[in-house]
Symmetry: C2
Subunit: 112 residues, 2 copies
DNA sequence: GTAATACTTAGCCTCATGGCTCAGTATTTG
DNA sequence: CAAATACTGAGCCATGAGGCTAAGTATTAC
């Protein structure tokens, strides 16, 4: 469970960076080499590689090196961590019988 | 659209911190004062307040101060930003006709 | 009206993040 | 085999995030 928490944290942290989210999006269209991916971002290769490693160490992508080219592949199942977290939030909300926040929110909007 | 990107970024950044995710979860059960929320975390009130402000400025919660007590309320709709992002990823994936990554992933697993 | 409560503000400190350069290493290519 | 390619490793640097203390303000309680 502490393990689980660490995993959730890693995934959210990995996705908190716009470059990394863009890599995930790009890899959604299909695998790509580090070099090709890097070409789409305004930074040097070593800098970009850090993002690749972050994504890989948090399980969002997998990579393989063949010859001198490292190919990156999206690990779609990993996005389920985010999905699950959202589902959990919804479940907590749905447990509630009252809907106090709606009331409060409405009151707050009236003040504007 | 740049506006949209900034919003997505803010929400992901806000959720990248475990304390803030926990606050979101806690507020899912109902509104709470800053003091009550802070009591659940091992940090000082000023430190905790920064998290509250981050959540509020990124639209994940709303707060109102009545007398000397500031009450926090979850803004559930804001989680849709994450939901939408995930849906977008799924849509990108589903556009694809081939399923090359599955092949690559399978090949990689065989190597282990 | 004094004291306690519940934040707020200001300012400081440390470490992690994200970017860079420069110098490898390993693979192709010509 | 020499040169180009595609990373990789090491190390530096600036910024910002997240934590702290100390002091201040506004409300409420006694």
């Amino acid at each position: 469970m502490a393990q689980y928490l660490a995993e959730v944290d890693g995934v959210f942290v990995a996705l908190a960076d716009p470059t990394r989210r863009e890599v995930v999006r790009r890899l959604g269209r299909g695998p790509a080499s580090v070099g090709d991916l890097a070409g789409e971002f305004p930074m040097t290769l070593p800098s970009f590689m850090k993002h690749v490693r972050t994504l890989e160490s948090n399980g969002l992508i997998r990579t393989v090196k063949v010859g001198r080219v490292r190919t990156c592949v999206l690990n779609r199942e990993r996005l389920a961590v985010v999905d699950d977290w959202l589902a959990e939030q919804r479940a907590i909300w749905e447990e509630r019988t009252d809907r106090l926040e709606q009331l409060v929110t409405d009151l707050m909007e009236e003040q504007e």
